[in-house]
Amino acid sequence: MESLPFFVMLPAILAATWRMATPLIYASIGELFTERTGVLNIGLEGIMLFGAFTAFAAVLFTDNLIIGIAAAILVGILLGLLFALFTVTIKANQIVVGVAFNLLGLGMTGFLFRALFVGTDNAVRTVPVLNIPVLSDLPIIGEIVFRQNLMVLATLILVPVASFLLYKVAFGLSVRSVGEHPKAADTVGIGVARTRYAGVIIGATLTAVAGAYLTIAHTNQFVEGITSGRGFIALAVVVFGRWRPKGVFWASILFGVFFALQLRLQAMPDLIIPYQALQMLPYVATIVALLSVRGKTHAPSALAVPYEP
């Protein structure tokens, strides 16, 4: 079989890029809000697993996608509340609590999955692809933009909404000032704890939605450890996107390219390099991206520092 010329594959690769970038976009936009309030949540991987499992289980039981997303959102809110309780109110070490969340996510979803669903037929319905008659038939653009499922398309709304929230309304000003200078924010009457709770909950909720995307949109089932490090890659995406919504969007797209290329190259019939070399591509890329940013000049000043009034 002769491989197709590269430019013929390009639209398919770009479409796959956006699909692979989508969970990163949700999680890293969320984490951006968390970190902008000065809280570092490295428990994204665990929260994403909770979201993935909850959405999957909810759709399996109800066959209703809206309920699936709503269940993931609810779990995200609860986990956000819990994380903020430990890190903002109790002021426990944010990294240690994050590590605990990752283990809880892996252990709990693995346990519940094996206890409840192993050996049952467990494919769920998935978020539909929006099919607009004329637009989806357009050459190139049709494949990249107009044959994507709704959760992928929603990222186009998420990013401007995040920018608007962060830069144009009072809430965003609170978020940014609490992350830069909590003492000053406190002095002018901005509730530091309240704002941080909000930031953590936004982050956890969007991360849970990213997990839901993996089980009820990108695929149609739950697999233990389905997130395969995306929660951690999202942390690097936030750094690489310099804590700005647009930057984070494009950083996610860049990582999406590596995931998409990896899948595309693995499918090539006359591959000479071992597939494991491709498998590690996103992880190597994450390290390279972090090394290229150099320093923490763009990080919120109060990141990971508990506030003592």
Partner: protein, 370 residues
């Protein structure tokens, strides 16, 4: 003690910087140390078991029956107790090493990957240099494992010191890279000649550690683990190098002001924790599995984090918390077989233990520091 910097007259005040100031806490009384050091972890474990009991109940299991099976599986007779100690061996080594790096306030989440690289290098020595006599082969094998883990960890340390890259993210990425690489090696270049299962051939007879309690599988790796934990405790609390690492962990700025090279200590702490993880792998390969395969670590590197945290980052404490988590792992296997409860529940229990410890630590700090 740390040497005050002598080069600049402006920073002459450093000579008055006391150990207390660099570490940020007073030496507290032995009794209060004992209470917080022993009662705290026990309370943390009880809380974790209580919460997971509720989860078991909600999933339709009988938690009392589950925990009885777990206890029997861990301490029921001599044979299972030695199995617990076998499980504890890599955990003590990894946990004690992580105590050192966590004291430096460096978050090495990469013990899992460091274990894998250590396993690869020690398997290479044990298989391809198998003609050497045991007296040379075994030390060489252990050294290779240690070196592999140390270098893999130092890579992340160097990324942090030189490029300011978060070690949390880079160590986790290095985990994936190490695990995938091992997968490649055991299905490709290092696959066994006969059988063609995705595993390497066995290491030479001369490369195997002595089993001192036949017919059980308990080997001298367990003794090595205890000795290393004691050694790391001495290093951390009785040597000037250990002091420097703790000072960096408390405040890099103050440490640097007192003439301590922060970057060097970050690399040293990473090397020690990675080396301990690599040694754990070498001990595992030469004492228990005798070969390398894809799942050579069922998450030891992550359990090691819980081991270190439960010990409040004290290498001596890691001996006890290592045995505890070894018992948990070992007991959970039995629980899965006889009570049908998925053993992955142990991972969630580890998360709960860490969460409780993190909470207790806050109050411990309040009562023991100025």
């Amino acid at each position: 003690m740390a040497e005050p910097s002598t080069s600049s007259s402006e920073t002459a005040v450093t000579s008055t910087t006391s150990a207390e100031e660099l570490l940020g806490h007073k030496e507290t009384s032995r009794l209060s140390k004992f209470l917080w050091g022993v009662v705290g972890p026990i309370a943390a474990i009880l809380v974790a078991f209580l919460v997971s009991g509720i989860i078991l109940l909600m999933a339709g299991y009988n938690p009392v029956f589950a925990y009885i099976t777990l206890l029997e599986g861990a301490f029921g007779d001599m044979r299972v107790i030695t199995e617990v100690l076998l499980q504890a061996t890599p955990l003590i080594l990894i946990g004690a090493g992580l105590c050192v790096v966590f004291r430096a306030n460096i978050w090495n989440i990469g013990a899992e990957g460091q274990f894998y690289i250590g396993a690869v290098l020690s398997a290479v020595v044990g298989i391809y240099l198998g003609d050497l006599p045991a007296i040379i082969l075994i030390p060489l094998l252990l050294l290779a494992g240690m070196l592999g883990g140390a270098l893999w960890a130092m890579l992340a340390g160097w990324f942090k010191v030189r490029f300011g890259a978060s070690e949390i993210v880079t160590t986790i990425m290095l985990n994936y890279i190490a695990i995938i690489s091992t997968g490649y090696l055991v299905t490709g270049p290092m696959i066994e000649e006969v059988g063609k299962f995705p595993q390497t051939a066995q290491v030479a007879e001369a490369a195997r550690l002595f089993r001192f309690l036949p017919p059980t599988r308990l080997h001298i790796g367990f003794i090595i683990a205890i000795l290393v934990a004691i050694l790391l405790w001495v290093f951390l609390f009785k040597s000037s190098m250990g002091f420097a690492i703790r000072a960096v962990g408390h405040s890099p700025e103050a440490a640097s002001y007192a003439g301590i090279d922060v970057g060097r200590n970050v690399l040293l702490a990473m090397a020690i924790s990675g080396g301990a993880a690599g040694l754990a792998a070498a001990v595992q390969v030469s004492g228990l599995t005798f070969r390398l395969y894809q799942q050579i670590s069922p998450g030891y590197g992550f359990t090691g984090i819980a081991v270190a945290l439960l010990a409040y980052n004290n290498p001596l404490g890691a001996i006890f918390s290592g045995i505890l988590f070894g018992a948990l792992r070992s007991g959970a296997e039995v629980m899965q077989i006889s009570a049908g409860i998925p053993s992955v529940m142990v991972v969630a229990i580890q998360g709960l233990v860490i969460l409780s410890v993190a909470t207790f630590s806050v109050y411990r700090m309040k009562y023991t520091s100025r």
